[in-house]
């Protein structure tokens, strides 16, 4: 009588000669104890590799640029990248991360940047005390955030539309305030001594914007991961209905999130105008898409694809390194944009393929 043993059944179902199975069999047969020894471990390794693909891509890009571009790996260039490309985008992206963690989105970051820049530069030009002007700039940005918060929390307008409306109104306000797009330049004699400290000064040898970045990142991380408010914010982003039923004050938490993000953008705006010594209308809009991109690049680092502080910082780093590197390699300026876009596309594709494999 022909019968099939359980052993034979097990052998038949487990043997799937996919390429990865073959490779993992080969790896398994090597006499190395730290490599994956079972199919589960191999799959885990593959998922981790794909999950860290962004960090890996960053590393690869970095190495490639160090080898291919002559001036890339010098200290002065790296510092230049950090201060110019990275710093402002990092603060804006941290604010965006906070908002996306709470389940919304903030399209008006450019408005917050520009309004704070406008207030700051106008007040300095009007001979206000520097520190008062700084505070006033942040208050201006907070006002933008409060406007967003008012639309989103009590009026329950969906964040996409609400911040879009704020963006439009902000554009109009800026056009009116600047007489149609005239930048406000600060004459060199009228600048108080400490004015450029925010943009270009250093704090124990570290450029001040980077100090602000570090402080902001640490504060945000502590807020999100180690404080009850952070728990409420994350809960709001993951399961808003459950959060509401659990007693989280949804309106207050959302309002806080948008105001905080706007204050962050206010700081970014002050750094920006301190660096260029002027207020240029509508210059904040360039940061919107990059900050969204950086935040979402950062989501690929997380196990479940949630935004995180460290992920966002990696994303901003990737974007700024690529921008700088392509410039140094000497690509035509327009091909740089194509190159950056294609690179980000590939990185995101790799991470999303990884996520799909993870679900399976």
């Amino acid at each position: 009588m022909r019968y099939v043993t359980n052993e034979q059944r097990r052998r038949r179902t487990l043997f799937k000669p996919t390429p990865w199975a073959v490779v993992s069999w080969l790896i398994r047969s090597l006499p190395l104890s730290s490599l994956p020894a079972t199919v589960q471990q191999a799959r885990h390794l593959r998922l981790s590799l794909l999950r860290y693909s962004i960090a890996a891509a960053l590393f690869v890009v970095f190495v490639f640029l160090a080898l291919a571009a002559p001036g890339f790996f010098t200290a002065s260039n790296l510092l230049n990248v950090l201060v110019n490309n990275f710093a402002i985008l990092a603060i804006v992206s941290l604010g965006m991360t906070l908002v996306i963690c709470s389940g919304g989105i903030d399209l008006s970051v450019g408005t917050a940047i520009d309004i704070s820049s406008l207030v700051f530069v106008s007040l300095v030009a009007a001979k206000w005390d520097l520190r008062a002007a700084l505070v006033a700039g942040c208050v201006g940005a907070a006002a933008v955030g409060a406007f967003n918060a008012f639309l989103i929390a009590p009026l329950r307008i969906t964040p996409f539309l609400a911040t879009l409306g704020t963006l439009f109104i902000g554009q109009s306000v800026q056009q009116l305030a600047s007489n149609g797009g005239q930048p406000i330049y600060l004459v060199t004699g009228a600048i108080p001594g400490d004015f450029t400290f925010v943009g270009r000064g250093s704090f124990f040898g570290i450029p001040f914007p980077l100090v602000l970045d570090a402080v902001g990142a640490v504060v945000l991380f502590l807020l999100l991961q180690r404080s009850p408010y952070g728990r409420y914010i994350l809960a709001l982003g993951v399961q808003p209905g459950v959060a509401r039923y659990s007693g989280v004050r949804v309106q207050r938490v959302s309002a806080l999130v948008y105001i905080l993000s706007a204050i962050g953008c206010g700081v970014a705006g002050i750094i920006l105008s301190s660096t260029v010594k002027a207020y240029v209308p509508l210059s904040g809009n360039a940061y919107l898409l990059d900050s969204i991109g950086a935040t979402f690049i950062g989501t690929t680092l997380h196990v479940e694809g949630r935004p995180s502080v460290q992920g966002t910082l990696v994303g901003v780093l990737l974007l700024s390194v690529v921008t700088n590197g392509l410039l140094l390699i000497g690509w035509n300026f327009y091909w740089q944009q194509v190159g950056t876009g294609v690179l980000i596309f590939l990185v995101l594709a790799a991470s999303f393929i990884g996520r799909r494999l993870r679900i399976r």
Partner: protein, 303 residues
């Protein structure tokens, strides 16, 4: 809402309701309208969730790239018979990259179209070297010309396209299934619809709309323009406002048509009453917020 604004402008500005003015508004809104139709189709098929829902951010730069293609081809001496299909093909190509990224690679539409948008902007800069490329040709002149009753051809075109899309999306089985896919994807899949095909179709259609709008834009401006990326926010805005203007509070072509006309008449009315154009953006923003707030509050009152 719409009628009240119309009435206000009709009273405030003398020539508002003249046929020539209405036709002018239609002509100016044509490009925005075509792009917004494409965006609306993606909204319909993709679902309305903010983060994971369907959206096509690359439309504005798709327009820019296709317009650059058209202008460069015409300037290099190719005839319309070659340039026009290639332009539409460029739009379709961008749409297919979007479709591949969203459906094939399972990316979030927000991210995928964001990256494609940057890539399109880059290619457009490469083609035009950041200059305005002049282009004239028989077809372009014909498009920009005026037709019967002294009404511009563009006005007829937008109405014709709107009618075509309204019929195709709201009165055919295809359209109904597209709504089903967008509203509740799992249920549609359980009912046997091939989700991926519908999603691919939405992105291809929106890419095609980008190509069509590019043709209109080149006709209207006699060449490509460098500022096409700025059109993104008005397009998204118009498509979202179309939700408010539609009868069932879902994205719909007719709602989008109304919202595009609304924006057009608003800008036109401001021009006629000599209000500074700086106020336009602000008033747009305030109005949309009022409308959306009123709608959401009233909807909550019902449920």
């Amino acid at each position: 809402m719409f009628t009240s604004v119309m009435i206000y402008f009709a009273i405030a500005a003398p020539g508002f309701l003249a046929l020539s003015n209405i036709a002018n508004v239609l002509e100016q809104s044509a490009i925005l309208g075509v792009l917004s139709f494409g965006m609306t189709i993606v909204f319909i098929g993709g679902g309305s969730d903010v983060v994971t829902g369907g959206i096509d951010l690359s439309l504005a730069n798709n327009l820019g790239l296709s317009a650059a293609v058209y202008s460069t081809l015409v300037r290099s001496g190719y005839s319309d018979a070659v340039a026009l299909p290639l332009t539409l093909l460029t739009g379709l190509a961008v749409g297919s990259v979007n479709a591949f990224a969203v459906v094939g690679l399972n990316m979030l539409p927000l991210l995928a179209t964001l990256t494609v948008m940057n890539i399109c902007a880059g290619f457009e800069l490469v083609l035009t070297q950041n200059t305005v490329v002049q282009a004239t040709s028989p077809l372009l002149s014909a498009i920009a010309d005026t037709g019967p009753f002294g009404v511009p051809n563009l006005a007829y075109f937008i109405l014709f396209l709107a009618a075509l899309l309204i019929f195709g999306i709201e009165h055919t089985p295809f359209g109904l299934r597209l709504y089903a896919v967008g509203a509740y994807r799992q249920a549609a899949r359980a009912a046997g619809l091939r989700i991926n095909r519908y999603l691919i179709a939405t992105y291809l259609l929106s890419g095609l709309c980008g190509g069509i709008a590019a043709t209109l834009s080149v006709a209207l401006l006699s060449g490509s323009s460098t500022g096409s990326g700025e059109m993104l926010l008005p397009v998204v805005f118009a498509a979202l406002l179309g939700v408010v203007f539609s009868r069932r509070l879902v994205p719909s072509i007719s709602g989008t048509l109304l919202s595009v006309l609304f924006i057009g008449f608003l800008i036109n009315g401001f021009q006629l009453t000599n209000v500074s154009s700086y106020w336009v953006n602000g008033v747009e923003g305030v109005l949309i917020l009022l409308v959306v707030a009123a709608t959401s509050l009233s909807r909550r009152g019902q449920s």
